[in-house]
Symmetry: C2
Subunit: 336 residues, 2 copies
């Protein structure tokens, strides 16, 4: 698909492949989509280049409204997101989408399918990027904020983060957005599952998709009831916001304008209440914490290779000490 | 279901609820299933009681053969596992199963379904336990080995670990077993997906389930081909073992004896080659590493709350420093 790459020729492509992170960053800031794509690849790969991009981009951020979109597989998130992007493109927004699949190499197909459903966006300025992180689900904690930051610095607003499922990782990712949209489909099960998955606490907007199907109004009622009871069930929204429920038929684009209105209302609420600063500060704190964990984790390999740590392991293998004791002693070694 | 709990009366149940970890451990060693169930709950909860159980159980382990069973959802892992357990029960083995679902609260239903399909095991000495770890997929790295250890110390052999999907977490869990069984179904896709998911490197036994379906022999051929090419594609089995491929129809129990034979052959290979010690030592090392990470991670909360760390965060929020720099400085604080 041409969406990622822009319409650049071969020569410029070669120069981009050899460009430094700071050159790429400047080019991306000047609207070069291919340079932005390359930046995102560097971010996905991680390491020093990714850190350098974060250093460069961080001062240039804060404009983009970050929207998380989550919901069970099959809820029609991508179709809804595609329609929303179309609406945004028609109203001259330059949107970016980060499609995140933390779960498994086996769901790679879903993202491909999602991208194909977004074909009608070709030719618009929308930038769609998927990020699969096989074997590195912990890496999402660094790669997602870094990618959002690159989009923000390159002038994209809003930036949507779409996650494939509603596992804990997906919920965590979606919950770091300024505004979190949870998509459900008609049927009692979904509403209950949203409840179980801890989505009531993070949803700023609920979308009942496929509103033409039987059970759509039941789903709405179930959600309203759960929101009514959330202070009793201990699942209140983390900032006390009552998420509106929007009925949508994504295939017909019915209700999409209402979704955008609900998102804009929440954005306004964040701005007026001052919660936006708090939201972003806590997002940054959680990123810094993940970075601290990773830096400390990098040190663990060295520690585990030291002679005293090896001896603890040998003793644990020989069952003269337990793994609990071995770990405690190794941590004592780390802390000197 | 009665499988977890045994047939104990209410009074004994009450005494178990108030028993200490060491009392429960002794009772479990003496064949008390309810005490074992309670131990597993404590392990799942984590914390000090879980650590105490690990201290108690670790010296009493090393007998059980640990078998990981993994494969894509719908591959029929549970039906196959159920038939295998039946065979083991008929031949006087006292087996335990740990059904692990690290992925999502939404797949909880699958495990329930799996357990129901194991109904024909009621009345046998088989112990089946599911472990869901919503929000704590990192916790599996500690809870799974601790649960296996409890089963081992309580005299169960073999201990099966069944995972729900083939995401990275599931593959990691299955790969820590002595013998890893990968279940696939007929169809070209599955074999390719097994390849992608890194299963060739960890599979000690391949089971092509639903062998009565069209495409079963193709699936077998695809797997053989991938195994033939694995030294070229860089996906050789980690210890060079050539995994046999067993054709199974779990519904009819066809081929189940062959699965057990293939598992026993691999166990013999581990014993004869001395690889069993290496496998278990590296399993223990990986557990100790996870424990070290957790202990260091527990310290992160304290560090993040200190005044110097808060100042780094404030600077990062104000964009005078990047999150990369903030994290590095906080780690410098940790390391004093």
């Amino acid at each position: 698909m041409a969406l990622d790459e822009g319409g650049l020729g071969r020569d410029l492509g070669a120069s981009i492949r050899s460009a430094s992170a700071s050159e790429l960053f400047e080019q991306a800031r000047n609207g070069n989509r291919r340079a932005l794509g390359r930046l995102l690849t560097l971010i996905e790969t991680g390491g020093e280049a990714a850190d350098e991009i974060t250093e460069l981009a961080h001062p240039e951020t804060g404009q983009a409204h970050v929207i998380g979109v989550t919901g069970a597989p099959g809820a029609g998130k991508s179709t809804m997101t595609g329609q929303l992007l179309k609406l945004l493109s028609d109203s001259k927004h330059q949107s970016a989408v980060l499609a995140v699949d933390p779960s498994s190499p086996l769901t790679g197909g879903a993202i491909l399918g999602d991208r194909i459903r977004m074909d009608h966006l070709a030719g618009t300025r929308t930038f769609i990027r998927s990020m699969a992180t096989r074997g590195h689900s912990g890496g999402l904690a660094l790669a997602v904020p870094a990618a959002v930051r690159a989009f923000d610095a390159a002038g994209y607003d809003p930036v949507l983060i779409e996650t494939v499922g509603v596992g804990q990782v997906e919920v965590d990712v979606a919950a770091t957005a300024d505004t979190t949209v949870v998509v459900v489909t008609p049927g009692w099960g979904d509403a209950v599952q949203a409840n179980k998955a801890g989505l009531l606490e993070v949803a700023d907007v609920f979308v009942v998709n496929k509103s033409d199907r039987p059970g759509a109004s039941d789903a709405r009622r179930d959600l309203e009831l759960m929101l009514d009871l959330s202070h009793i069930t201990g699942q209140e929204h983390s900032s006390g916001y009552r998420a509106p429920i929007v009925m949508v038929n994504s295939i017909e684009a019915d209700g999409i304008a209402d979704v955008w209105k609900a998102i804009a209302q929440h954005r306004e609420h964040l701005a007026n209440s001052g919660l936006i600063d708090q939201t972003r500060a806590s997002r940054l704190e959680s990123e810094v914490r993940s970075r601290v964990q990773r830096l400390l984790g990098d040190g663990i390999d060295e520690v585990m290779a030291t002679r005293p740590a090896r001896q603890e392991l040998v003793d644990a293998v020989g069952r003269t000490i337990s793994p609990v004791t071995a770990a405690r002693r190794i941590v004592a070694i780390v802390r000197g």
